[in-house]
């Protein structure tokens, strides 16, 4: 069978996340239905990760196997014609049969968007989180560096997922500020449940002056979830890119 890889963008606002569930509209379920209509056979769409309800993606990767003879680059437009407007296939290509979007992912970049101002936000309110307290971005940038490297990130993991190890490697955390918009890009080889949203919550404590940048080392070393910041809302998070 042919193995087709898809690059996908979606607005997570009206989805119950990526992963199919017994009930509720999911990204995986929605795309699978569109593909089935197109190829007239059962397909199983495999994703690079699970994103939570409300989380967005600009570069999600998934793949499915098919006997269809549709040219690989034509899948993009053909599937898009059967999709609702909050999910879009950006690229489609045929890959080796053993390609697996999750097992072969070497890492990912997530982006968390904060609007730092007093007033709530109307435009783009589903794609960012408003933080009212004035943030010291320089201090946040100092703190970013302390996350980089291979560490046990168990302080930055929500309960409700079982993993063999809580050691992960963060390659880079980068902050871009443009007027009142602050984008935090987190790249690494893998992420624990809610890890990015808790890292951002902790960086905000630094930005608000509640903790010093150096304290990040202590939180990592102590491994106590209660020492880290809160888990930020899903709407601010987007999966930007998956590396293979």
């Amino acid at each position: 069978m042919r193995n087709i890889k898809l690059l996908i963008e979606y607005d997570g606002t009206d989805f119950y996340g990526w992963q199919k569930q017994k009930s509720g509209r999911t990204v995986c379920g929605t795309i699978e239905e569109a593909i089935k209509k197109l190829v007239n056979e059962e397909v199983e769409l495999i994703g690079c990760s699970r994103t939570d309800s409300g989380v967005h993606a600009k570069g999600f990767v998934a793949s499915f196997k098919t006997n269809s003879k549709i040219p690989s680059e034509k899948f993009r437009e053909a599937i898009n014609q059967k999709l609702p407007d909050d999910v879009v296939i950006l690229e489609s290509e045929e890959v080796l049969e053993d390609f697996h979007p999750r097992y072969q992912a070497k890492g990912k970049t997530y982006c968390y968007t904060i609007i730092n101002r007093r007033a709530p936000k109307a435009i783009g309110r589903n794609y960012s989180c408003v933080v009212k307290e004035k943030l010291n971005v320089e201090k946040m940038q100092e703190a970013c560096k302390l996350f980089v490297g291979t560490h046990d990130f168990k302080a930055f993991k929500s309960t409700g997922s079982s993993v063999k190890t809580t050691v992960r490697t963060i390659w880079d955390i980068k902050i871009e500020k443009n007027y009142d918009e602050i984008k935090i890009y987190v790249s690494g080889d893998g992420f624990l449940y809610n890890m990015v949203r808790i890292i951002v919550g902790t960086l905000l404590q630094v930005g608000e002056g509640k903790i010093k940048p150096e304290y990040i080392n202590d939180i990592i070393n102590e491994g106590d979830r209660n020492k880290a910041g809160k888990c930020m809302p899903a709407m601010g998070l987007s999966l930007e890119k998956v590396f293979y």
Copy 2:
């Protein structure tokens, strides 16, 4: 009576524009209702302009007269508490009684956002318009210069509005490109009905190579609506700033 000036942001997606109508949800009507609940008196909210259904605003200006004793800067938060999440008061201040948001406006800046790529857009799809044909931004920038100045813009006006004169002054048109996002900022002393959206439609003809930049002069001189480009969809347009 006190005269309170408001700076307003709204997501125009689910509004039938600014101006109150017999039926349909409007920005003006929505904010007026919120203010009435707050001050317990009849108020009339006067806006700086009418925006069409689906058009957004980051810096709309409106004012209302009231006998309320609420401190002027407190109106912002008090009104926000009574507003739905697609409209936000950014600032409130007391101004001279003769301040009029429309008559005293010296000019405005609008922004039109284009996404230049093959695939449709899921994230932020209500705030931009996708153009599939590869655009030559340099040529568009050349064309921008020819709009600047005082001209009769009757070729760039939709029917359905009566005005004394179709002469307007464009101060500046600026294009910012960031990956596949192209933002066109148009500033001037006043705008005819759909003028910005038709200017953008005409710039796109230049960007797609259908007309040469110099042809802008001919369109302006001939004053023929059929020579100008199409009126671009409302969703890409945002009122950025009003000058007084």
